[in-house]
């Protein structure tokens, strides 16, 4: 496995994790009065993290599809758990997204009440998310994956709408239940590996060489996927998400929709495809169907929403559907598209929630019925909202387009009918978003709506990076695609090998796959 990993002399990953963690601690330990200081500590920490990520992106070897900056230490070796972390083209941008969104949340969507703990939880959430994206040990991943629950839980409970406690509990129970199933899956994978090699390990690279019988593989894949699907969320595991997005504070919603949702999708790409290449292709039609239903369902329900945040929540569901579609279409283009859409959707949703948060700040509501004609008093806000909205619809030249396009193209190659149905999703997106825009921004502003102030310079500065990235991703996606593609290729290679050449599978120790007569006969048909 050595050729898959490249380590680095500079401890990027450790620093990447330490900075937010220490920032969080510092924020907690500050005296009560210094809430503003705490905020700046948080912003500082997250900006430093962002800097580190940018440095890493530059240092990243574009042609290498394997893991880079790998750090490996012995940890709870009795249980077979070790500290292995690294970054490849897929996780790089997820980490980047996390590092980008956090400072923006702290700058633009900070809370006045109990700022100290807000900042601390935010940074802890960032820490946990980055940790999950860089973990190459299954248990380590699980630890971070679970750890995201705690800060997000407290963020939801602590700040937001009146029904937030119920929403938070719903969120926690759903996701926790999902991950328990996943844990059993993880343990069984390790157990299988233990049986085959007599070595107890949870390292992803080692476990990739494990073989499963056909049924076990599918069951395991399902166990993993349930955990991820709830987190993502994928239809029909999405029911927690509108409530939670709707009740949580704007900043929290940004983190949840932009980053945590990606954690689920990332998990599918990273673990489902790598560990169970054969089962993935078996299960793919089901997943594609769910994804397509999600796209259409999300879009239709979004049409019926009277609440901007819930609307974005359902639109997110549709977008996540696209990502899953791209993932399980199992073609290079679609997978690349999925990763790219993860990035761009993260940015777009963050921008959405940020802007909605600002609207809510000004108007005290985000109900579509109560908003009208904001265009007049707040033209810049309207303009920015338009850009984000168009990107979300998938207008060429903006971020959303590239991802959706690649996904649809890639899916069409392998599974054309699903691709055709999914295309309707784009149309629906255009309908509900434009409709929402029309209802809230156009028309004649009256009453409270007329006195809405436009964005301040500070706010414009805060949202600027997001808008710039939306444009940049749409216009010049190459640097991103360069880094994504090799890793995607490597991931897909296994599936191709497994599915095209059964003989190779049986002889292959390297890439694993499956064993047994049953599977081979399955191959035959």
């Amino acid at each position: 496995m050595a050729h898959f990993t490249t380590s680095s002399s500079f401890p990027y990953i450790v620093l990447l994790l330490l900075v937010p963690l220490l920032g969080s601690l510092a924020a907690v330990l500050l005296p009560k009065k210094h809430s503003e200081t705490a905020r700046w500590v948080g912003i500082g920490a997250s900006v430093v993290t962002l800097g580190l990520v940018i440095a890493m992106t530059i240092a990243f070897q574009t042609t290498n599809g394997g893991y880079q900056f790998v750090s490996q230490h012995s940890w709870a070796s009795e249980l077979g758990i070790s500290w292995i972390s690294g970054i490849d083209g897929i996780s790089l941008f997820m980490v980047g997204l996390t590092a980008l969104i956090t400072p923006i949340v702290l700058l633009g969507a900070s809370e006045k009440k109990r700022t100290k703990s807000y900042v601390a939880w935010m940074l802890l959430l960032e820490f946990a998310c980055i940790g999950s994206f860089v973990s190459m040990d299954l248990i380590l991943f699980f630890l971070f994956f679970e750890l995201t629950l705690i800060p997000s839980y407290f963020l939801i409970v602590g700040w937001g709408g009146p029904k937030r406690a119920a929403a938070a509990t719903k969120f926690f129970i759903y996701t926790f239940a999902g991950s328990t199933v996943m844990l059993v899956g993880i343990l069984y994978v390790a157990y299988q590996h233990h049986q085959q090699t007599n070595q107890l390990t949870f390292s992803l690279l080692d476990l990739m060489a494990t073989r499963y019988s056909g049924v076990a593989g599918v069951l395991l894949l399902v166990a993993f996927t349930i955990g991820f699907a709830i987190k993502a969320p994928v239809f029909p595991f999405h029911t927690w998400s509108p409530d939670t997005y709707g009740e949580a504070a704007a900043g929290t919603s940004m983190m949840l929709a932009a980053i945590l949702a990606k954690l689920g999708a990332y998990g599918m790409i990273r673990f489902d495809l790598s560990l169970f290449p054969h089962a993935s292709s078996v299960v793919a039609p089901v997943m594609l169907t769910l994804a397509t239903i999600g796209i259409i369902y999300g879009a239709i329900v979004a049409c019926a929403q009277k609440d901007l945040k819930r609307l974005v929540a359902y639109s997110s569901l549709a977008q996540m559907g696209f990502i899953v579609l791209g993932t399980f279409a199992l073609s290079e283009q679609s997978l690349t598209g999925a990763v790219f859409l993860m990035l761009s959707h993260g940015i777009i949703t963050a921008a959405f929630f940020l802007l909605i948060g600002w609207i809510a700040q000004r108007r005290g509501t985000w109900q579509l019925d109560e908003l009208k004609g904001l265009q007049g008093p707040a033209p810049i806000l309207a303009a920015l909202f338009t850009v984000v909205m168009l990107a979300s619809i998938g207008l060429p030249g903006l971020a959303g387009f590239v991802g959706e396009y690649l996904i649809l193209i890639g899916t069409f190659v392998t599974h054309q009918w699903w691709a055709l149905v999914a295309t309707f999703g784009v149309v629906f997106a255009a309908i509900y978003l434009l409709w929402a825009y029309q209802r809230s921004f156009q028309g004649k502003a009256e009453g409270a709506n007329a006195s809405v102030k436009d964005l301040t310079m500070a706010e414009r500065a805060i949202v600027a990076p997001l808008i710039l990235l939306i444009v940049l991703l749409g216009v010049f996606p190459k640097p991103f695609l360069d880094r994504i593609t090799p890793s995607v290729d490597r991931t897909l290679n296994q599936i191709t090998i497994v599915n095209c050449n059964p003989h190779l599978v049986c002889g292959s120790n390297l890439l694993g796959g499956h064993t047994g007569m049953g599977t081979q006969s399955e191959m035959g048909k």
Binding site: W75, A76, E78, L79, I139, E146, I150, V157, T169, I173
Partner: protein, 529 residues
């Protein structure tokens, strides 16, 4: 005929092997003696101090044992009655640590209830020695004596609070069921003795090694009865009926202490008897433990969901914990045993810590343990509330706490051992568990007074509404309480140290689990041939 003529060859005694018991038991006696020799009795602080010293000494003795075992191997001493091995050293450390924490927390209780006599400490020292005896015992009758020393001390401790009627009642319930289980256990000993010809675990194990039992009926009956006896001691369903009442009625620090060491002792003896001595008969006892584990996991978690009293909730949660430990034992492999051991340690610390907070919040008379009391705790007292939240989440098995690794270890062992459904049930129970731990945690985190000016209910209707909600499922009532901001609870220094240590252990070993896992693993190795 003349006894004087024939000298008796006294067995060899390895005093290091006995040192923890001797320190605790003799120490307790000396404290008792000193009390009666000092005019006006021993001062409370003095007694606490001495008890702490003794506990630390026992901890050191256990560590010395560990050192000896790891350099020179295990020993069996006093006519094979006691074994000193990694396992006993690990349990010794666990019990000594529990003892230290419980003493710190107990002092808070004694101070608040103005109890001046040192019997509390004496009894807890003796109880600890009983538990250690159970862990070291290499003979069924010694295990029985250990159980009794532990139980008798605990019966009295449960009845310790003279001002609360519930305390005596709890003691009585505990006593009746404890005595009952002891009797069943003894009958089990008798049948096993009949089936194998000895009560010595080493002899029993040799007997199985040298003989092939054709008629196993007597042994089966004996094993079943022993398991029933142990089941009562460790509160496995369906032998758990005493637990909630006793936990609720006992003084809070005692509840924590009891929940920890009675289980540690019980499980230690259970592991020793079944895995060490009757490992070859695993096919006999495994199914029983399997069933017990499933019932325990599910019932503990489900019933805990609907509790309003924090102590009862924690009682049911401790039942669920027992289920997890049983999972580790059922597997019977090295991984399973070591996971169970690790779980025991972790569980003890977390439980004592949690009950420490319950003690502090219990108020004068130690009677106020309703959930509403915890509302907004983390807002009012971030440190105390934080510790509570951490300890609860750790019990729920949240990552980067010891609780997670403990659950992981057990479930992982179950899967490796092929006990699939058990692992799934365990995960399910953990999932349900999250709900009820979270419920308390949420209440602690939510504001003490509703932020929104919701309609102000009368207290009665608020409570009934809360109860009805609790019965329908999770309650996260936002606007039930009408009481004014609760007073800040004073946390005495020793109590703070105790709770802090427990919390710290839970977190630190959760992040750096290596040493403890190593310890548990090598402690469990003794049982592998």
């Amino acid at each position: 005929m003349n006894l004087l003529a024939s000298t008796i060859a006294m067995p060899n005694i390895d005093y290091l092997a006995l040192s923890p018991e001797i320190i605790l038991l003799v120490g307790a006696t000396l404290v008792l003696l000193a009390t009666s020799l000092v005019r006006g009795g021993m001062k409370r602080n003095m007694a606490t101090g001495i008890t702490l010293l003794l506990s630390v000494a026992a901890l050191i003795a256990s560590l010395l044992q560990w050192h000896r075992v790891s350099t020179q191997g295990a020993t069996i001493t006093i006519a094979k009655a006691i074994s000193m091995d990694g396992f006993s050293a690990f349990i010794g450390v666990t019990i000594a640590c529990s003892m230290i924490l419980a003493t710190l927390i107990g002092h808070v209780f004694l101070e608040r209830e103005r109890i001046t006599t040192p019997e509390y400490h004496i009894l807890s020292l003796v109880a600890a020695s009983g538990a250690i005896v159970m862990a070291q015992a290499n003979d069924l009758i010694v295990i029985f004596l250990g159980i009794e020393i532990l139980s008798i001390a605990l019966y009295v401790l449960v009845a310790f609070n003279p001002l609360r009627g519930e305390s005596g009642e709890a003691a009585l319930k505990y006593y009746v069921l404890g005595g009952f289980s002891s009797a069943v256990f003894v009958y089990g000993i008798a049948l096993v003795y009949g089936a194998t010809g000895s009560t010595n675990l080493g002899q029993i194990s040799d007997f199985f090694a040298q003989n092939q039992l054709i008629n196993t009926g007597l042994l089966y009956a004996g094993i079943a009865l022993l398991l029933v006896g142990f089941g009562f001691k460790v509160a496995a369903v369906p032998f758990h009926v005493w637990t909630p009442d006793v936990y609720q009625g006992a003084p809070s620090p005692i509840t924590g202490y009891m929940a920890a060491i009675a289980k540690v002792g019980g499980f230690a003896a259970l592991i020793r008897v079944f895995i060490a001595a009757m490992g070859s008969q695993a096919s006999t006892w495994q199914p029983i433990i399997y069933a017990l584990a499933i019932a325990t996991l599910l019932l503990g978690a489900i019933v805990a969901l609907v509790q309003r009293d924090v102590k009862r909730m924690l009682a049911y949660s401790s039942i669920a914990h027992a289920g997890f430990i049983l999972v580790g034992i059922e597997v019977g492999t090295l991984a399973g045993t070591s996971a169970a051991l690790y779980y025991l340690f972790v569980y003890s610390i977390m439980t004592i810590g949690a009950f420490g907070i319950v003690t502090v919040l219990g108020g004068d008379g130690d009677g106020d343990h309703d959930l509403t009391r915890y509302r907004g705790l983390a807002r009012r007292q971030p440190w105390l509330g934080g510790a509570l939240v951490i300890l609860l989440l750790a019990q729920a098995g949240i990552p980067f706490t010891t609780g997670f690794l403990a659950k992981l270890g057990v479930v992982s062992a179950a899967i490796q051992g092929g006990s699939w459904p058990l692992a799934l049930v365990a995960m399910l129970s953990a999932g349900i568990g999250v709900a009820f731990y979270l419920r308390v945690a949420v209440i602690a985190v939510l504001p003490g007074q509703p932020e929104m000016d919701a309609d102000t209910d009368t207290p009665a209707s608020a409570v009934s509404a809360a109860t009805s909600r609790s019965q329908t499922g999770l309650l996260l009532e936002e606007s039930t309480t009408t009481q004014s901001e609760e007073a800040i609870v004073n946390v005495p220094l020793l109590g703070a140290i105790g709770i802090g240590l427990a919390t710290l252990t839970t977190v630190v070993f959760g992040i750096l689990p290596g040493p403890l896992l190593d310890f548990a693993n090598s402690a469990a190795k003794i049982f592998q041939p």
